[in-house]
């Protein structure tokens, strides 16, 4: 093959790669664009502070040509309660477990636990929903915020473990050695030196895991179930923003609320996502 054809081929490949790589931005822009355009107008004070209307009320409003009353406050409260409860348990457990894996990385027990963490991370969220149903909903004889947060806890845990372990592992070993050389025990070295040094990475992992479970619908379907008014108790069915989107999707009368709720969820999740990365970058500098 002569040189000209080979160079031409090389150029064509470069442009093809650039073209297809650029194409992946299209769905992102299309999705964000659609949600923003259709949803931004629906966001209002009452949308954020009032619970979801009943289908009947919504139908009446549509028939009368008025905007649907109410909003997604029940979902926001439920999401806050469930994600908050899940995070309070998952963060310490996840960090300690990550510390265990980083400290004992060569031990057989750690290899097995690391492997099982991968397994848990790869488990479909719907299965985690089923499991929490079996473990929590059936014994408690009812759907509840506790069950929902249990499912979210199981989803968060492997994510926090992984990010903690990975951040601790890339710390220079001299850090640990320096601490031990001063006569500190391993507990103090981990708590006072290694974990603070790894704070940026762990914080990023925690924020990303929160952003991830906030958008989850499947594990809440048969655990939190949903609820059409604002509820603060944790042993009763409760709603969540992604759960509301799913309800609006299935209920033709409520479909007008779908984009506002999606806009809110997407804004929250992606902001958290970008913040996490920004903070990690700042912290590392």
């Amino acid at each position: 093959m002569n040189i000209k054809t080979r160079i031409a081929k090389d150029r064509i490949q470069l442009w093809t790669v650039c073209f297809f790589a650029a194409l992946t931005a299209v769905p992102l822009l299309a999705i964000i664009g659609e949600v923003v355009i259709k949803g931004f107008g629906q966001i209002s004070w009452s949308f954020l502070t009032e619970p979801t209307p009943t289908a009947y009320k919504a139908m009446k409003a549509v028939q009368a040509g008025e905007p649907i009353p109410g909003g997604i406050a029940n979902g926001i409260v439920g999401t806050l309660i469930m994600v908050g409860m899940a995070a309070i348990v998952a963060i310490p457990v996840g960090i300690l477990c990550g510390a265990f894996l980083a400290e004992n990385s060569k031990k057989r027990s750690a290899v097995i636990i690391s492997f099982l963490t991968d397994l848990l991370q790869g488990t479909p969220s719907i299965i985690i929903g089923i499991i929490t149903y079996i473990w929590v909903v059936v014994p408690m004889k009812g759907y509840s915020a506790i069950a929902g947060s249990g499912a979210l806890f199981i989803m968060m845990l492997p994510l926090i473990i992984r990010s903690t372990e990975e951040t601790l592992k890339i710390l220079p070993t001299s850090l640990q050695e320096a601490g031990l050389a001063l006569g500190a025990n391993r507990a103090s070295v981990m708590l006072r030196i290694q974990l603070p040094a790894a704070f940026g990475g762990i914080f990023k992992g925690v924020l990303l895991s929160i952003s991830r479970v906030t958008g989850e619908t499947a594990p809440l379907l048969f655990t939190a179930l949903g609820c059409s008014f604002i509820r603060w108790s944790i042993n009763k069915p409760i709603s969540a923003v992604p759960l509301l989107i799913w309800e609006f999707f299935n209920d033709p009368h409520l479909q007008d609320l779908i984009w506002g709720a999606s806009f809110f969820l997407l804004l929250f999740v992606l902001t958290l996502n970008l913040t996490a990365k920004y903070i990690a970058k700042k912290w590392n500098q």
Binding site: M1, I3, R6, I7
Partner: protein, 255 residues
Amino acid sequence: MESVKPILEFKNTCVSYTKQTMAVKYVSAAIERNTITSIMGPSGCGKSTLLRSVNLMHNLYSNIRVDGEILLNGENILDMEPIDVRRRVGMVFQRPVPFPTMSIADNVMAGYLLNNIHISKSEKAKTVEQCLRSVAMWDEVKDVLNKKGTFLSGGQQQRLCIARALAMKPDVLLMDEPTSALDPIATNHIEQLLLELQKEVTILIVTHNMGQAERISSHAMFMYLGELVEYGDTKKLFSQPADERTKAYLKGKIG
């Protein structure tokens, strides 16, 4: 003295990594056909940078600029297509890097495979044998040609890399400290090999090792802080260096 047309000629060659700093400054030198020329100097003096400019390796990195002229058989390679130049100018690197996914035979023929040059099976077998013979490796590997080259010793791997470069029948062979990662015995092998090879190809070799330069090269260059300080006959450069800096280097005071 009869003047022979040089195969390679640097004319005011400059290489810069940033706008302010030049790694190679206005080097001019002519290299004669079928000679071994060694480039010496303390680390960071720009000798590898100069060598790599002949193979247009700098084109791979957008921040590096090469100015002046480098003539190969009278043609300025800076105006030529890099892939064309690199076929005519072979290069052997510091660390032996056979391609791990290719067999020994394919490693020798890598240039043909990479450049999509199709040749007949018998011709291929002939080239493999010829190249491996010229690096004195044929007898060692003739039974394992279809195995991956990764089990070979460091010295063998480096010879395989030389064979790979020779297979393209280059006019000039560039070597960037080819023995610095090898033990003394393997180094000795390679040195003997280079003395043989200069019948076929012109060799430009960067070396840290003054003894090596003295043993193998007919011409020597001494570079310091990016400048070509002295260039000439090896024996003369070692016995009667003209420049104070060369003298200091040979005495081990710099570098």
